[in-house]
Every structure is written in C-alpha cells, then in structure tokens.
Assembly symmetry: C2
Homo-oligomer: 491 residues x 2
C-alpha cells in the first residue's frame, strides 16, 4: 500500500521532470532569445516543485512502511532507488542548497564572459565561494553517507564508485598513457592527411546525420534531431531530443557528434518501458551513460570498417572528393594530437585531460588544494601529461570547463569510466559474437541487441559493478581500454 | 500583505501554465508520435497541479484579507481578476468537473472517427452525456453567479456578455444578413476569377509568411512560426508560438491563416509586460482576442490596398503569374459563397454559421432543445440562413465542429463578437487617423500603435464594455460591421 503510494508520488515527479526536459530542450533549440527570462522563471518554479515533491514529509513514513511490505524483488529494487533519490534530495540543509545554487549560478554566469576575457582574477572570488559551499555540502553528504568528502560527490554521478578505486585506476593510466601518446604521435608523423573541402551545406549535413542515425537504429517515432549551441541528448526516454551543431566548413565534427549523442539516445530509448516513470527505470549512472555514447562514437564509428561504410555516404551527400576515401577518413578520425581543450581531444589524449581534472577536483574538495593554487597545479599537470605549456592561458586552461563553475565536482571521472566501460563491453561482445569488423560490415543488429540485453534493459535494476560484471565478467577493468587503444593506434 | 501573497501564488500558477503552453505547442508541432502517451500524462499531471493551485484553501482567507488592504486602483483590478479565476475554478463540485472532463474526452475522441464516418447515431449517446453534464455545470454556475444557465457559460469566454444582449444582436443580423449574402452573390456572379497555379513550395510559402509577419510587426525576438495540423496561436506572451499549415496547391490559404494568427500574436505580444504573470495582464476575452485576429485578417489584409501590397510579394516568391494581379487577388479574397463548413466560410457568410450555432447551443443548454433533435434544427437553420440542404450530411453539418464534443458551449458567439469589435475598431481608428487606405499604402505603424494604445496595453484592466467604449465610443455595436460589409462587398 505504501509502496503503491510511493510509485504514484514518483510518477508525478517524473511527469514534472518530463515538462522540464521538454521546455529545457526548447530553450536550447527553438526559443527566441526574448523568451528566456520568462522561461528561466518557469523552470525555476518547476525545480522548486520537483524538490518539494522529493521532500514531501509523507515520504519518510511511506518508506518505513513499504520496507515492511511484501515486495517482489524488482519492487524492492525500485524502493531502494526511490530512497536513493529521496536521500539525495534531503541530505543537505535547505539553506545550503539555496546558497550553493545561487553561488553556482552567479559564478557560471560570470564565467561565460570571464573565460573569453581570460580573467582568472575576476573568476577567483566567485569560484572560492562555490568551492567553499561545495566543501560544506560534501562534508554534510559525507557525514550522512559515511563516505569521504569527495566520494560523497562522486556518489551523485557514479553510485558505488570510490576514490579508493579511482586512485589506482588513474595511477595505472598515468603509467602508460603519456608513453602511448608519444608512440602514436611518432607513428602518425608524416602520415598523409587530406582535409575534406567544404562548404558542406547544413541541410545536407543534416540529411547525412539522419541517415547515419537510422543506420544506428535510432527510433524516430520516439525522438528527433535538432540544432543547439552545445550538443546534448535531452527530452525523455519516450521522446529523446538529440542535438548537434553544424559547421559549414567541417562535415566530420557534426557527424561524429551526432553519432555520440545517438549512443546516449539509444540507451534512453532502450530503457525498460514498464519502469520508465520510476528512478529504477532511469539510466544507471553518468559513467554508464557515457559508455554508450563512447561505444557508438569510439568502438563503433571510428572502427575502420564503419568508416568504410561512412565514406560512400559522404560521397552521396556531398559529391565525391579524395578526402572522402575510407583510408583518409580513418586517419582523420584517429589522429592523435595533444591539445589544450578537453572537448576537442582525441580518443587517446582525452583520458589525460580527465586524470588531471580528477586529481585537482579531489584535492580541492578534500582541502588539499586551494582555489588560488589551481592555475599552477593545472600548468604542472598539463606539462606532465601532455607536454603543453598553459601558463597565463586561463581561457584554454583551468577556465575552459563549465563543471566547476556551478559546483559539479565529481562528474569528470564519468568520461573516462565511460571510455573504459565501453571498451570492456566491446571486448565482451566480441568474445560472444565474434569480431566487430564482421558485424559492422554485414549487420549491426546483433551489436544493438547485445547492448539492449546487457545494458539498456537493466536500467538501474543492478548497481554498476553487478551490471558490468554480468555483462563483461569484470566490474571495472582498464585492460580492454588499453588493448583497444594499442591495437587501434599502434596495431 | 495578503495581496502580495496572492500575487506570488498567481505568478507560480502562471509559470506552470507557461510550461503547459510550451509543451502543448511542442506536442502539436515537434513531438514524434510515439511521445504522445507520456506527454499526455505529463500534461494531465500539470493540469491537476494548476487546478490545485487555484483551489488552495489559503486563497479564500487571502482574498478576504486583501479586500481590506489599501490597494492602488490597478491592484484592486488585479485582485478582482484573480478572484474571477479562483471563482471559476471553484464553482463546480470536483466530481462534476471530473465527470465532465471524462465525458468530454470520450466524446471528442470518438468524434474524431465518427465525423468522417458520418455516424450521428454513434455520436448521439456520447453527446447526450456531455450535454447532460454541461447542463448540470451550467446550473451550478448559474446559481452561484446569479445568471441564466447559458449566460453562466458565456461568462467563461466573454465576461459580462449576456444572451439578453446577444439575442437582439443576432435578431438584427438575421434581418439583413441573408439578404446581403444574396445581393453580394448576385453582384459577384460572372466576375472573372483566376486561380493561382501551383505547386507552391512549402519553403517559399514559409518565407513569404515570415515576410508578411514582419510587415505586420510580429516580434521575432518573442515568438516564432511553425507548422501544425490545426493552426493556432500558442505559447506565452513573451514567446508567442504561431502555427499554420501549408497546401502545396494553394498559397492563398496559409498566407491568410498566418495573418489571422499574427493578429492574435500581436495582441499577446502587446500585453503589458509588468502585468503578464497575473490574470489581469491576460487577454480580456475570447471575443476581444478574435477581434485582433479578424482586424488583421479582415479589416487589414483583405483591404484592397493591402492586397495590392501582397501581389508583388507573391510575384517575388513564386514568380509572376496573371492570378497574382492585385485585382484578381482581391476578388479571390473577397469571394462570397454559402458553404457547409464554418471554418472555410468567407467574411460575409461566416456570421450566419454563428447565428445558427448560437441559437442551437443556447436552446440546448436552457433545455429547450434536446440532443436528438439537433440535426433537424441544424437542417432548418442552414436552409433558412444559407439556403443549403444538409439533410443526412452530419459530417459537414452538426458534426463538423469540435466545440460541443467536449462541452465548450458558449464559445461560438466570440467569433462574431470579434468580427463586430474589429469593425468598430476600424471605424474608430479611421475617425481618428484618417482612411485605412492611406495608412496601409504608406506606413502601418500608426495602425498598430492605435491598437496597442486602445486594446493591447489594457489587457484585463477594464471590462470589455469599458474597453470598447473608451476605444470606439460604443460597447458593442453591429452597425460598423454592417457598413463595412456593405461597403466592401456592394460598394
């Protein structure tokens, strides 16, 4: 009885979140600029309502009563995930939530102009306030959850993950990644590279993107593709709103961006329909979500056999040119070059950007690093991991990401966890189905079927470690990721 | 103090309605079909929340206390409009609201297939239930408001309007309109008419529509144009979402549809920014809203001088053809022909469709006509007003409109009130600014300025009678409408 009340309550919350997801998508894709103020106010009222729904005083009693009720195993798991959402919403004193939200908005808003101005000094006091409040929040969460401060933040994005597991993981990466980057650069030196010659009309890029989405099994009855300044995968599972941005001079970027977001989208579309309105029916974690986008983008789409399928599509949509030759495209899509900007990084250097951010944010939250010392640490680590000098270039250095400006500490590891999970999934899949190469060349449906069976349909019914162990035989194992990189880039 | 609490409460309601308006627009324009079920559920949860917000038990006390507070005149009016919204939401027993909503949904849903099937017998029992519940609702409203049953429904759409005013109005129309229709047909007989030859590419029709919207002062910083199966003007005042539908074979219809919706849109965009979040800052009534769309469509856009400005735009967008000659376009856009379908009717026969519906719905609600006798009455009146035989053709007869299927009795008069108000406004405007012809030919901004000053900026700060009297010297006066028709069609 109490369980049923909880289900109804969380379904209502889901409906409110649905409205927020669609209006958020609209804000990024359709809304004329003059509508922004009213929209922001409407969404803020909705956020308050959602928060209130999760703080309803009834919930404590209902949870206590539901725990005594005879529940099927799936219901018990459902209950656990509702409790997790409730706990997350009630851990912090309301005043701290409000202060953090305000300071985060203020800092993020200022960052939008301070970053282009390279103004670290202007950013610092705002950031110090965000960091200070984030540390307080981490302390409160840590105490309630019995975790370290940083782990209590990690728990928000990657439940069950701990720095005790991440420290050796990144230590390991630190051991072999910089060397690998050097070797790959050495190997790629002097390789012939032809850049495709534009312009590439936006409408044709979109038509190509839609065709590739169909090839990748995106369900257009439950989703669509649009344009936004910052690509994302939004909407709701029943109606996934994927976005990209086009550059008339470069066809390769938007295409790969669409493929990346299609990975996120298929995960969402593949979540079990019967559970979608409850927390247990949501995506397992940000790392698992990223594993799906990176499976599509890295394991699948940058595979030479997939690129060989892309090449004739480019010919068809834009007319043939030498740069569209499969070999050349493959070289373009696997070019490794250390750079300053994380979001522009290739598959091999990307984890170095994350290693650096992980160390820094962990130390910031644990009180081992102060905000004012961030640029110096950044410069040191960029030098160490990627051999790049970033001194004085805050804009393309420690000011480049949005995450810390609004207090989203603990998120960054998800990117590399996703890359590792994706490599584990690809390895397990190949043990079961044979080489990806043959599947990509002939029929990709067994690939998607495997992902549905092993990842998508499980939503949050298992913890990530169980999910990955059942799917791949190992909870978290960087070895397949290393093999994948070595084989693709040095093989 | 209580007034301030009320303002905050109604602003929250406005924010919720904002989310509903955008998600409703999305449902009609952007949403893939598979998203509909989840969207319907989310919007239904939102409707419950909005209703709950209007039924908050605090409101009664706050209203009582606010009436004792020292309020500025604008605040006192604001209070009155909040009370009106509250009263409307609390007049009916919850159970009746629920039953009516269910019966209405059921009947409307069935109507979508029964209408094409011409199945009056299948429709009748569903409609009887809607009518029965609508009569109960009208009785409850009538008792609470001290009005007749039909007037209590009219009050929802056209506050202050009564059948004691509408009866003589439509009696008057009945006296001269059928004769006028005959005379116009006689005059137009044998007039040369060239139909434009398509196809007209959708993209070009859209470009033309956008150009005409700009010409009419639509603010694209606060709105946009899209496509939906049934054109509407939605969104919120800060972000007006206007839609149309295109027919590749006919460029004239979508263009005039866009102009009509632009009239609605400019009213919304012109509402006073400071009051937008409160009921007093909303559009005055459906009749006044319709007066703006009809001012744009009928008074302005079908004016021969405006058509002379449209003609070269059609040439530019589609290449010249003889049918685009201004004289021919003007004849096309003012062609009068009695027809079965209200939404396809021309400016002159349209009020006959409304006269008929007004008489029927008034008698249905007052218990003077039963549902089973509707087709017979329909046939009689169509014969009498438009000389058309509709016997047995329910599809294009009494089954053609959506309004009665979901219990929206009392809405129909708004269309003719709108046409009359628009003619009054045009007459008053010309007394003050000189002939429309000169303004349209040279600079239309004084026209829009007049509408802003006299209609838009007053939102719901005055009742309709005061608004119209101050703007035009008369509360409701059909004489300018008659003069307008006689001058345009017989002059």
């Amino acid at each position: 009885m109490s369980y049923a009340l909880l289900v109804e309550h969380f379904e209502q919350l889901h409906h409110l979140q649905h409205l927020g997801a669609i209006c958020g998508w609209d804000q990024a894709t359709m809304m004329p600029p003059g509508g922004n103020e009213a929209r922001a106010e409407a969404l803020s009222t909705l956020a308050v309502l959602c928060h209130r729904q999760l703080q309803d005083p009834c919930l404590g009693d209902w949870f206590a009563a539901a725990e005594q009720e005879p529940l099927a195993p799936e219901q018990a798991t459902g209950l656990r995930e509702m409790q997790r959402a409730w706990r997350d919403a009630t851990l912090l004193p309301a005043d701290l939530v409000r202060q953090l939200s305000l300071a985060g908005s203020r800092c993020e808003h200022a960052w939008r102009s301070l970053r282009p101005a390279n103004d670290w000094a202007g950013f610092l006091p705002l950031f110090e306030e965000v960091l200070n409040l984030s540390r307080q929040a981490a302390s409160a969460r840590a105490e309630a959850l019995g975790l370290s401060r940083y782990d209590s933040l990690l728990e928000k994005y990657e439940p069950g993950m701990r720095s005790a597991r991440l420290d050796p993981l990144f230590d390991g990466l630190r051991g072999w990644l910089p060397g690998l980057i050097g070797e790959v650069q050495e190997k790629q030196r002097g390789e012939p590279l032809l850049a495709p010659r534009g312009p590439f009309a936006i409408e044709r890029q979109k038509a190509l993107g839609l065709e590739v989405m169909r090839l990748l099994g995106f369900d257009f009855n439950h989703g669509r593709l649009d344009v936004s300044a910052h690509p994302f995968c939004g909407g709701v599972s029943e109606d996934v709103r994927l976005t990209t941005r086009y550059n008339e001079q470069d066809v390769t970027q938007a295409l790969m961006g669409i493929i990346h977001e299609t990975g996120h989208a298929r995960y969402e579309q593949g979540l079990p329909a019967a559970l979608r309105k409850l927390p247990v029916g949501q995506a397992r974690s940000m790392g698992v979500h990223e594993s799906q986008s990176l499976f599509f983008e890295m394991q699948l789409a940058r595979h030479p056999t997939f690129i060989a399928r892309l090449a004739p599509l480019l010919d068809t949509h834009f007319g043939p040119q030498p740069a569209f030759a499969a070999d050349n495209l493959a070289r373009l899509y696997t070019r490794v070059a250390p750079g300053l900007i994380r979001v522009d990084a290739d598959e091999v250097t990307y984890p170095a950007h994350i290693m650096l951010r992980y160390e820094i944010e962990r130390d910031l939250i644990e009180g081992k690093l102060e905000a004012r010392d961030l640029p110096e640490r950044w410069d040191q680590l960029m030098q160490r991991y990627l051999g790049l000098d970033t001194r004085g270039n805050y804009r393309d250095g420690c000011l480049q990401d949005i995450h810390w400006t609004d207090g989203s500490f603990g998120y960054f590891p998800s990117y590399t966890l996703g890359a590792i999970y994706a490599a584990q999934q690809a390895a397990a899949m190949q043990r079961q189905l044979g080489p990806l190469e043959a599947l990509i060349a002939e029929d990709m449906s067994p690939i998607f079927h495997w992902l549905r069976q092993h990842i998508w349909q499980h939503a949050s019914l298992q913890d990530t470690a169980t999910l990955m162990t059942r799917a791949c035989g190992q909870a978290l194992d960087p070895a397949p990721f290393r093999s994948h990189l070595e084989q693709r880039y040095l093989g």
